[in-house]
């Protein structure tokens, strides 16, 4: 997901987008930021003891 965010930022920086495309990318970017924030705050580690072969 953070790779996608990087890609969006790169596109916006490139200056190759028109107004409509820029707005669309911006909205997608904001959405990703929200998802990543949520994931970071809530995710927990899961530890399992495995039986050796």
């Amino acid at each position: 997901m953070s790779d996608q965010l990087e890609a969006i930022l790169a596109k916006l920086e490139s200056g190759e987008l028109d107004v409509d495309q820029a707005i669309e990318q911006y909205q997608k970017g904001i959405e990703l930021v929200k998802k990543l924030e949520k994931h970071l705050k809530l995710a927990e580690n899961k530890i399992t003891k495995v039986t050796k072969g």
Partner: protein, 369 residues
């Protein structure tokens, strides 16, 4: 006197029986001497001290690494009297002991493995950052384990950690560690990285991580490895063979995953960057639009101006041909019976001509031609 009379074989048999009953498992420490390997399989050496020396026999597979006369070894074995070759102790297990010997063993092994390229920088693979699935090889009851997990939980979430609980010191440690590495490597869905770790300790405690089998197993692992041995001085061979090393279990967690807090900060920065970019783009679009509108306006004005100039020029040209101007200079348009005449030919005395001047007409009769 009634001594028991035995055949030679019987004696050997009885002695071995006695040895098995009384000393089935002896552990002896002594200085290595007369060390030799035969046919790349059989190992023969003596352990000696100031006054005595005992022979030992085993296989190369039991060696923890290359050995040299003079090193102190601790050997677990079974004493026996061989029917032909005399007394020797059959090796079950052996390891160098004492600071000096351990270091010597490690030095020898390091040289051997280094020449094989096991520690080359080019072999080292980058670790996934962050990993989603980690294989952890350590002692489940140790402080190392507790520290690693604590720091992992503080820094990051969503990681699946599979723990292989092994001995990290003692005789069985090397075998258990190797088995754990092989277990993870053979898995249908292997972890993305193996973390092999233990806390600090004396040289003897860390010996397992200087054995040939553990070092080779780490080098051969298809899964990238992160080895963290807490220690004061020397780096273990296991760490040299690993893709990455950390100084402590906590440090391993720090290298393995990012810090939640700084990641959240970075996200916030990305969010600001997004807004900034959009703002900048909007400003640019507006400016471009304004500039385009101005150019359109200027261009249109210029075209109109050109047309006007062109028209004025043509008008002036046309004006030059206006008959009214000629009349103003005193010329007259002469006509006879409403027809304009331009020549005296055919004219007679008495004919009445109309003379049109700039401001009116005169009737005139020809008196002379």
């Amino acid at each position: 006197m009634n001594d028991l009379v035995l055949s030679v074989s019987d004696f050997v048999g009885i002695l071995n029986q006695t040895l098995e009953n009384a000393y089935s498992n002896v552990v002896i420490v002594g200085e290595l001497s007369n060390f030799r390997i035969s046919k790349n399989r059989w190992v023969y050496f003596d352990l000696k001290d100031e006054v005595a020396s005992v022979r030992f026999f085993g296989t190369v597979y039991q060696l923890p690494g290359p050995l040299e006369d003079g090193m102190m070894l601790q050997v677990r074995g079974n004493p026996r009297l061989h029917p032909q070759f005399g007394f020797s102790i059959t090796i079950l297990n052996l390891q160098p002991v004492g600071e000096g010997s351990l270091r010597k063993a490690a030095a020898l092994l390091e040289a051997k493995l280094k020449s094989e390229g096991l520690f080359d920088l080019e072999r080292k693979r980058p670790l996934p950052y962050p990993p989603a699935h980690v294989g952890l090889i350590t002692s489940g009851e140790s402080a190392a384990y507790a520290d690693f997990v604590k720091i992992m939980n503080e820094r990051w979430g969503g990681v699946v950690i599979d723990l292989a609980d092994v001995q990290v010191q003692g005789e069985v440690a090397p075998e258990q560690i190797v088995r754990a590495i092989e277990f993870f490597n053979a898995h249908a869905h292997p972890p993305e990285v193996l973390v092999i770790t233990r806390g600090g300790g004396a040289s003897e405690d860390l010996a397992a991580f200087n054995t040939e089998q553990v070092t080779r197993s780490i080098a051969a692992s298809r899964i990238p490895t992160l080895v963290a041995i807490g220690h004061e001085v020397d780096i273990s061979l296991a760490e040299l063979a690993a893709d990455q090393r950390a100084s402590t279990p906590s440090n391993a967690a720090q290298l393995l995953v990012p810090d939640k807090t700084s990641e959240l900060q970075r996200l916030r920065a990305s969010q600001n960057q997004l807004s900034q970019l959009l703002l900048q783009l909007t400003v640019n679009f507006k400016r471009d639009l304004h500039s385009s509108r101005e150019r359109l306006h200027d261009q249109t004005l210029r075209i109109i101006q050109d047309q006007k100039n062109s028209l004025r020029l043509k008008s002036q040209l046309l004006e030059a041909f206006n008959p009214e101007r000629i009349l103003k200079r005193g010329y007259a348009v002469v006509s006879l019976n409403s027809k304009v005449i331009t020549s005296v030919k055919g004219r007679k005395k008495g004919e009445v001509l109309a003379l049109r001047l700039q401001d009116g007409s005169i009737q005139a009769t020809i008196t002379d031609v």
